[in-house]
């Protein structure tokens, strides 16, 4: 996927477009008002002492002076209050907007093509997507718009104060800009340092967060206690802190340099401006009220200038975030069907023709030129050593991966012509890693919104998976929340119970093809045996694939394939493979070794 570059203008249009879409149009008006008032305030505040001094030194009667001065102060205060209201309201709106915008991120990531997401690039893309909405108010779309408004506001203020200062003397403007350029230069150095260390920082935060969570996660405590990892964890923290210290030292040194420069330039600026203004007073080109006004305006000028640059810098930094997000939205876009299935709802035949597959960040083929025909309603077993490619093969068959070479056909229809969601519909898969969500039991099994639950089917699936009684015993039955990640009363299942729940999920889904990847590893012998016995019934009228390290499971399958290094080493029924006396025979012997009645001696 090529990275597209978006122009600042197009990013602005994009962001403002969404802002208007999610918020009311009038919200934009608040932003504009915020700019107008924000620019006006410093100037109004500058004029007040001038007015006051003018009235106090001139020949006005007491009442007039008091009324004029006090009312100008009151007006100014009212504007200030309005400004606070506008500013806070608008920044609140921007924040709410970011929260709404989260939908743009989550909708895409939920639908994103699995293979694309899983790759290294995909994970980067997803992190980019998240940065847009989830990294606080200094990164992402909220910050982008806030800083955009900041740039406009400060630019406006700058122009006005330059015009006013220009009437005093053009050289003063030049001098002020030059002295601010120094500050900007140092700020820029500081910014560069931050950019250079972005990776270091990101790594630090990631490490810190990982350590923070890992060291207290209830699931880890057993190992931590038993292996006395307390000291190790302390030393990991120490390392983290020491690395950080070096960075922090440099960070604050650079920052101090910039501060030093600011202090010196402010010092010089004050003296020069004051002395020049005193000179003007002596020359009688200005009077005292003007003196006060100029002091005020000039002090705002450098401020506007520095703020323009600070805002601009952050604006541009976030412009990259917006571009990245738009790339993320284009990345791994799935082809969605109209929801109709092209396949009949019955057991399928699956054909693999010279299928090869390699992961995008790998140069070795994980599946190498593999051809296989699974007949309609067949019970297939896949065995093989750890890392032989069993799980990869399953993910290819059910459409999560697309073959690098070759093709896969379901009922003779090339999968490449189908949309992914159409393929997924045909499979119920129990993957090796148990996936339990912090939702209630019902949602965990049905995977759908509550109103679509078929309760009869749900009960049946739970019963078939042998987990019904357990769920009946829970305080809230199927509405019981799971895991303690969020819920204090969330229920945690044991390994065996979790596998049964996973099975129930597959049964409820009731797709024409059922794939079980290591479903028995956490089951006790009795539960395992029950699953084997009921297996035929569970997969009635379905095509099925069973993956297991327990070779006993192969006994009730029609055909077994032994996978090694991404290729089929042996294929056939249990008897055929045993007679062949090859790798399968060897594997089976090793496992069944101790179960045999004949051999009672321990030969090890």
């Amino acid at each position: 996927m090529n990275k597209k570059n978006y122009s600042v203008l197009s990013n602005l249009k994009y962001s403002l477009g969404f802002f208007v879409f999610y918020m009311k149009k009038s919200t934009l008006f608040i932003g504009v008002m915020d700019i107008v008032i924000g620019v006006a305030i410093p100037f109004v505040s500058v004029f007040i002492p001038s007015i006051a001094i003018y009235y106090l030194t001139g020949d006005f009667d007491v009442i007039t002076s008091i009324i004029v001065i006090i009312s100008s102060i009151v007006i100014f205060q009212l504007i200030s209050i309005l400004s606070v209201k506008l500013e806070k309201t608008f920044s609140g709106k921007l924040f709410i907007f970011r929260l709404h915008f989260t939908k743009e991120y989550s909708d895409h990531i939920i639908d994103m093509d699995y293979e694309a997401m899983e790759s290294t690039q995909g994970r980067k893309q997803c992190a980019n997507g998240l940065e847009m909405v989830y990294m606080g108010n200094e990164d992402g779309i909220e910050a982008y718009l806030r800083y955009f408004f900041g740039v406009v506001k400060n630019l406006l203020g700058l122009v006005i104060s330059i015009i006013i200062t220009y009437t005093l003397h053009p050289l003063i403007v030049v001098f002020l800009i030059l002295s601010s350029v120094g500050v900007i230069y140092f700020n820029d150095q500081f910014h560069k340092f931050n950019v250079e260390n972005e990776d270091f920082n990101a790594a630090y935060y990631a490490r810190n967060q990982y350590l923070e969570k890992t060291s207290i996660d209830p699931k880890n405590i057993k190992d931590i206690k038993l292996y006395s990892m307390q000291k190790w964890i302390a030393s990991l923290y120490e390392r983290l802190i020491n690395d950080r210290k070096k960075y922090i030292d440099i960070y604050f040194n650079i920052m101090f340099k910039s501060t030093q420069f600011t202090l010196v330039s402010t010092f010089l600026k004050d003296i020069i401006v004051y002395l020049y203004l005193i000179y003007c007073l002596i020359q009688n080109t200005i009077d005292v009220p003007y003196f006060i006004m100029y002091v005020g305006v000039i002090s705002t000028l450098s401020n506007w200038l520095i703020e323009v640059f600070n805002n601009y810098k952050e604006f541009i930094r976030n412009d990259i975030v917006i571009s990245n997000f738009r790339n993320f939205k284009q990345y791994g876009k799935p082809l969605k069907s109209n929801g109709k299935s092209l396949l009949k709802n019955e057991a399928h035949s699956i054909t693999l023709e010279n299928v090869s597959f390699k992961y995008s960040d790998n140069d070795k083929y994980s599946i190498d030129n593999l051809s296989l025909e699974i007949k309609k309603g067949e019970k297939l077993a896949i065995v093989g050593a750890n890392g032989a490619g069993k799980t990869t093969l399953v993910k290819l068959i059910c459409g999560l991966y697309t073959p690098t070479k070759g093709r896969i056909l379901i009922d003779g229809i090339d999968c490449a012509t189908l949309c992914k969601d159409q393929i997924f519909k045909e499979f119920s898969v129990v993957f090796q890693d148990e996936v339990i969500f912090a939702f209630d039991v019902e949602s965990n099994v049905t995977g759908n919104i509550e109103s679509k639950t078929d309760y009869i089917k749900l009960e049946q699936a739970l019963k078939q998976a042998g987990i019904y009684d357990k769920i009946e015993s829970l305080p809230n039955n199927i509405k019981q929340n799971m895991t303690k990640r969020i819920y204090e009363d969330g229920v945690e299942f044991s390994g065996g119970e979790s596998s049964k729940l996973m099975l129930a999920r597959a049964l409820y889904n009731d797709a024409p093809v059922m794939i079980l990847d290591e479903p028995t590893s956490a089951l006790d012998p009795i539960a395992e045996s029950i699953l084997y016995e009921s297996y035929n019934q569970l997969i009635e009228n379905k095509t099925s694939i069973f993956i297991s390290h327990r070779l006993s499971s192969t006994r009730f399958c029609d055909r077994i394939i032994l996978l090694g290094d991404g290729a089929i080493l042996e294929i056939g029924t249990h008897e055929q493979l045993m007679n062949k006396g090859g790798a399968y025979h060897n594997m089976f012997d090793i496992q069944s070794h101790y179960y045999k009645k004949s051999e009672v001696k321990n030969n090890d």
Partner: protein, 613 residues
């Protein structure tokens, strides 16, 4: 809202802790507060003096005033920034230091307490709060603002009193009356007091409302974080969500949490903040207007010079914003100390410290005898007896196996043995003495355990296996070879220094089977007299499983070993097999004895063996 004394106490204890980390921090913070409290007043004084002299056309003195004050401001600001720099450098690592300190303490507590999900949730929430609103760093920063505010307020107060005490010299009766010390003092001080009396309770109310909101918000934050990081960003879960077409449900859930909880909360939050800011702004403005009125009257009645209009004007503006800052810094201090309090609570869990002090007799011959005497146990939150009347002696240097159905109490038995939990009744003894009486760390050093759900961490392989910083490289290679994983590691570019998991760019994702081998290597590295394997080979293929068991038999020769496995074959040659059922030991003996009994064991054996015959 917590009581004042409690807040004070929390802040005091936190500062004391911080002081114990770094002795310079508090003096530096004081210096920062003093300098930043004083400096603004120099500019304020300068403006008035300058104006007066310009007004009276005293240009030479004006020149000197500019030079003198500018220089003084420069020097003081420079000092302030300098101290600030040193302070920031020191302060910035306080967060992880605190986290590390708390964890170190916490991990020395009893398992039962620290494994509780509530503790975890509270800590996660606390640390999420720290990342949102700041922790001890922010506390110090806010304390400095608070202190600075007090100093500034004091200076302002003196100035205001001075202003009030100036005597009017005017013919105008009304002006003279208002400008008289008593009346002007009454006006300004009265009004400030009045405003404060309104602001402070209102502030407190706002703060309380914010706290309540934060509580609710914390819950929904947890929910959305869980959906985003555990599900959406987690590619491992992606396969399941796609196959089962869970997209709609996830979108719906996210919508519910985001729109209904989070956004609603934040809208209220934003409204509160806006209202509070507007309210502060109004109070400020009111004080400013009244003060200006008095200043004007004082000038018009010739009590003070015209130049003082800017001095007092600037002062009063500065004073009001300092006042608001001080008030809101106090509020923040309260809310920060309110959640940081939990850190201190953890430190106070004295009753959760591991008991026992008797050292373990170091024996090279590994002659340790452990006995269970009438041990019963139920988990703290339920009444269901998980173990009932267990009487049992661990034979020395023997291979032993525990079998039983899921939930029969096998793992719990191990938990009690390694002191993760304490028996509800009965006693476990080591060489005749209750195991609770031994020093915890020494006792635990007797056991190498591979748990069913063992955990590895995203650090280097070397550190994961040795669980220390310093390690014995030779021994490390030895155990990795024994666990059958050395070859795989040697293939990696960085060998044993490779990081596990993809948290790092160059981290390596190991398969479940490979991880299991690493966990076994870790147990071997510990080299303890008791070796316990709880389902260690569930994810391994038959060949790897075979290799591991073979290797283990050699490793545990002069040790006592306990196997728990659902693969009955692995237990067959243990001379002593214990069968658990419903929390009780129902059968013991060798494989042949047990088969003859025709009980639980034989049912289980046959259930599995039938497929291999």
């Amino acid at each position: 809202m917590t009581k004042k004394s409690e807040i004070f106490n929390t802040v005091y204890r936190l500062l004391k802790l911080m002081h114990s980390f770094d002795k310079d921090l508090i003096p530096l913070s004081l210096l920062c507060a003093i300098f930043s409290g004083i400096t603004p007043y120099l500019a304020i004084f300068m403006s008035g003096l300058l104006l007066d002299n310009l007004h009276s056309k005293n240009y030479e003195l004006a020149f000197y005033i500019v030079i003198f004050f500018s220089t003084l401001i420069f020097i003081l600001s420079y000092l302030k920034e300098y101290f600030q720099k040193i302070r920031c450098k020191k302060n910035n690592c306080n967060e992880p230091k605190f986290a590390a300190f708390i964890r170190d303490k916490m991990l020395s507590y009893k398992y039962e307490k620290i494994q509780s999900p509530q503790v975890y949730q509270k800590l996660v929430l606390l640390e999420r709060m720290i990342s949102i609103s700041g922790g001890v760093d922010a506390l110090v920063a806010k304390l400095i603002i608070f202190l600075k505010g007090l100093i500034s307020s004091l200076i302002s107060f003196i100035m205001i009193i001075y202003l009030c005490l100036t005597l009017p010299q005017s013919d105008n009766q009304v002006l003279s009356l208002i400008a008289s010390p008593i009346v002007s003092t009454l006006i300004i001080c009265g009004f400030i007091t009045l405003t404060l009396m309104i602001i402070i309770p209102k502030n407190r109310k706002f703060n309380q409302a914010l706290q309540d909101l934060l509580q609710i918000q914390g819950k929904s934050e947890l929910a959305i974080t869980s959906i985003i990081t555990d599900i959406l960003q987690n590619y491992k879960v992606g396969a399941t969500t796609r196959i089962y077409d869970m997209g709609d449900m996830l979108k719906q859930r996210l919508m519910d949490v985001n729109e209904n909880d989070i956004i609603k909360c934040h809208k209220m939050f934003a409204d509160y903040i806006t209202n509070l800011a507007v309210f502060h702004s109004i109070s400020k403005s009111a004080i400013i207007v009244v003060a200006y009125f008095v200043i004007l009257v004082k000038i018009l009645s010739n009590a003070i010079t015209i130049g003082m209009f800017t001095t007092y004007g600037l002062m009063i503006t500065f004073f009001t914003s300092t006042l608001m800052d001080t008030l809101s810094s106090y509020t923040t201090i309260c809310s920060i100390s309110n959640y940081l309090k939990y850190y201190l609570e953890i430190l106070d869990w004295k009753e959760c410290e591991e008991s026992g002090s008797i050292p373990i007799e170091k024996r090279l011959d590994n002659e340790y005898e452990i006995e269970f005497k009438d041990v019963c146990f139920h988990y703290p939150d339920t009444d269901v007896e998980v173990l009932k009347n267990i009487n049992f002696k661990l034979n020395l240097k023997e291979k032993m196996a525990i079998v039983g159905k899921n939930g029969a109490g096998k793992s719990t038995f191990i938990h009690l043995l390694v002191r993760l939990y304490k028996p509800t009744s009965g006693m476990i003894t080591l060489n005749g003495i209750d195991i609770q009486k031994y020093d915890y760390n020494e006792y635990i050093s007797l056991f190498s355990v591979v748990f069913q759900q063992f955990k590895m961490f995203a650090f280097s392989i070397k550190e994961n296996v040795t669980t220390t910083k310093n390690c014995d490289e030779k021994k490390l290679r030895e155990v990795l070879t024994q666990a059958g994983i050395m070859e795989r590691i040697d293939e990696l570019e960085q060998g044993v220094d490779t990081f596990l998991m993809k948290y790092n760019e160059d981290g390596v994702e190991f398969s479940g089977g490979e991880m299991q081998k690493l966990a076994i290597a870790r147990a071997l590295y510990k080299d303890a007299p008791y070796v316990i394997l709880d389902e260690p080979t569930a994810a391994l293929d038959p060949l790897s499983e075979y290799e591991i068991y073979k290797g283990f038999d050699a490793m545990v020769q002069d040790k006592t070993s306990i196997y728990i496995s659902h693969r009955m074959s692995s237990c067959r040659f243990c001379p002593n097999i214990i069968v658990f059922d419903m929390g009780e030991i129902v059968e013991t003996g060798s494989h042949d004895d047990l088969l003859k009994l025709d009980g639980v064991y034989s049912t289980m054996w046959n259930a599995q063996a039938q497929y291999y015959e």
